[in-house]
């Protein structure tokens, strides 16, 4: 019998539950507020499902262990906050070029530097996009509730496995620490994606060759018996370093296009009161909770306002926003930083609508009243 399981749960706990439901078998990390519960609960629960938890000596080692574990075939995750996210960037780039799936949770807190450890923020949004050097494919998701944290953690694992790339789950302190109602779905109803592996008897296996009808190269696990080489240098289809310019161009195009050509599959978003809206508020994560409240009040006051909430932050929902511009003349971007995602929206809008910004970086969340005031100011 399928029984609905309704629970009161904290966001960080829902992240771990989602990860376990997705098949996480390894967590390597270094605890940092406000993500610490993710480490704690992973340490408690992973051994019960035959998984492993390692607290490493620092954040850099945490991501390194996570990447290593993924190469042995395990679904792996690490969790951190701004300062740790900075430290992990070099290895994140490594995982992107070497195409190693893993999930990296960043519970954003006030920054820069050690900043305000216990205060919410959304100021790592551009770091998710550009934190590591070189051109690289980025997938980043941002939930606005405990329940959505559960589901987007599963989605982060699925996308990581499908596209063989690290995926960011961008939480904030409020979503991570608040407790609210969550309905835990029955496991059999969840869609779980596992990485494509080479056929056991594939004698011609090349670690970085994409066979026909494949999105990415099948991924062998260390220990399976396949010989392969993994490097952060530009590499050929065997995985060996190569400075060949044609090869580099082909590889770079391939790792970028596996995301860019599949934007429809990766991008997800939610629209509220959009149909006749001439003004929209664009917000994600915790700020979207304030925004929907403000939009509802604005509607009661007769304003034609809607909410656009990307749950996939990167790649950005460019096509969907452009489509909105037929009716929408004004866009208010609200986020807990001093102007990050608004730059992407301005790029997409390219002068076709007025873009306004409402930001904050003092450790408090943006309130519904502040957003409502902004709506009535620009309308």
């Amino acid at each position: 019998m399928k029984v609905k399981q309704i629970k009161l749960m904290q966001g960080n706990e829902a992240c771990v539950e989602g990860a376990l439901a997705a098949g996480m078998k390894f967590f390597g990390g270094y605890p940092i507020t406000p993500s610490t519960e993710i480490s704690e609960i992973s340490a408690l629960k992973l051994p019960r499902v035959g998984g492993k938890f390692i607290q490493m000596e620092d954040e850099i080692a945490g991501i390194a262990a996570t990447i290593g574990a993924s190469l042995t075939g395990l679904k792996s995750m690490t969790a951190t906050s701004g300062p740790g996210f900075s430290l992990k960037q070099e290895n994140i780039g490594y995982a992107m070029l070497a195409e190693i799936p893993c999930v990296i949770v960043d519970v954003q807190r006030g920054g820069p530097s050690t900043g305000m450890p216990t205060a919410p923020s959304q100021s790592d949004i551009m770091q998710a996009k550009w934190g590591t050097h070189g051109d690289h494919p980025v997938i980043a998701l941002s939930p606005n509730s405990v329940s959505e944290t559960f589901h987007l953690t599963i989605r982060a694992f699925n996308l990581a496995e499908k596209y063989r790339t690290p995926v960011f789950l961008m939480l904030d302190e409020v979503v991570a620490h608040m407790r609210e109602k969550i309905e835990i779905p029955v496991a059999s109803e969840l869609e779980i994606f596992d990485r494509v592996r080479p056929e056991e008897n594939d004698t011609k296996y090349m670690a970085y060759k994409v066979p026909a009808n494949h999105l990415v190269p099948p991924m062998a696990s260390f220990g399976d018996g396949f010989d392969f080489h993994v490097t952060g240098l530009m590499h050929d289809e065997f995985g060996f370093p190569s400075n060949d310019t044609d090869n580099a161009e082909k590889l770079m195009n391939r790792i970028m296009n596996k995301v860019n050509d599949n934007i429809n599959d990766i991008v997800d978003y939610e629209e509220s009161f959009i149909k006749d809206a001439t003004t929209i508020v664009l917000a994600y994560g915790i700020t979207a909770r304030s925004a929907i409240n403000a939009v509802k009040t604005a509607r009661e006051r007769g304003h034609k306002v809607g909410l656009f909430r990307p749950t996939t932050i990167w790649p950005s929902p460019e096509k969907q926003i452009k489509k909105l511009l037929k009716n929408v003349k004004k866009i208010i971007v609200a986020e807990l930083n001093l102007g990050q995602y608004v730059l992407e929206i301005e790029r997409i809008v390219a002068g076709q609508a007025e873009v306004f910004f409402l930001g904050k970086a003092n450790g408090e969340i943006i309130t519904p009243t502040e957003i409502l005031t902004k709506i009535e100011e620009v309308i």
Partner: protein, 180 residues
């Protein structure tokens, strides 16, 4: 139907107010309502004034933070000073009667209850003051049912402490009955 009700539980660190907030939210959810529980972390969470917040609503809860509270529980003088201005006009203040304050002519309802005294002298342990307070809040507001509150409390206490916590709840109900 429960209209959005914002509750702030305040006192000093170590009084179990966050646990009380979790229990209250859990009880509400077991009744198919929505609830959000949050807290402030940081330096003030260690001793000094500390608070836990709960929002209960039959409808979906958009904004998850408490602004002006409908109900404010105050267990220390310091928390009274810090949070009293965040109580709504016509809201309810439940305050430990050991706290010496002059509320004068106030715009809110004041309920003075010997919460910590009851925990120490009638239940037998000061640590259950939070549970006594929950009993009183239930009796005064009816925001959750007694049965779901009791279930949520007992879910979180070790077996050996069940009797003590049941007694604490009972004493909490009784305290509030007497004042009404």
């Amino acid at each position: 139907m429960t209209k959005r009700t914002e509750i702030r539980l305040s006192g000093s660190g170590g009084q179990g107010l966050i646990l009380a907030g979790i229990i209250l939210a859990d009880a509400a959810i077991s009744e198919d309502k929505n609830a959000v529980q949050s807290q402030s972390y940081g330096p003030e969470a260690r001793g000094g004034a500390s608070k836990a917040e709960v929002i209960i609503d039959s409808n979906e809860i958009d904004f998850p933070k408490v602004g002006k509270a409908d109900l404010l529980l105050v267990l220390t003088k310091e928390s009274y000073t810090k949070y009293i201005s965040s109580l709504k006009t016509n809201g309810t203040l439940i305050i430990d009667s050991a706290i010496d304050i002059d509320c004068g002519k106030s715009s809110f309802k004041i309920v003075k209850l010997p919460i910590t005294d009851t925990a120490i002298n009638r239940v037998g342990k000061s640590i259950v003051a939070n549970i006594v307070a929950l009993g009183a809040i239930q009796e005064i507001t009816g925001i959750v049912d007694k049965s779901s509150l009791e279930e949520a409390v007992l879910k979180r206490v070790p077996k050996a402490m069940i009797g003590l916590n049941k007694k604490a709840l009972e004493e909490g109900y009784n305290l509030a009955v007497k004042t009404s």
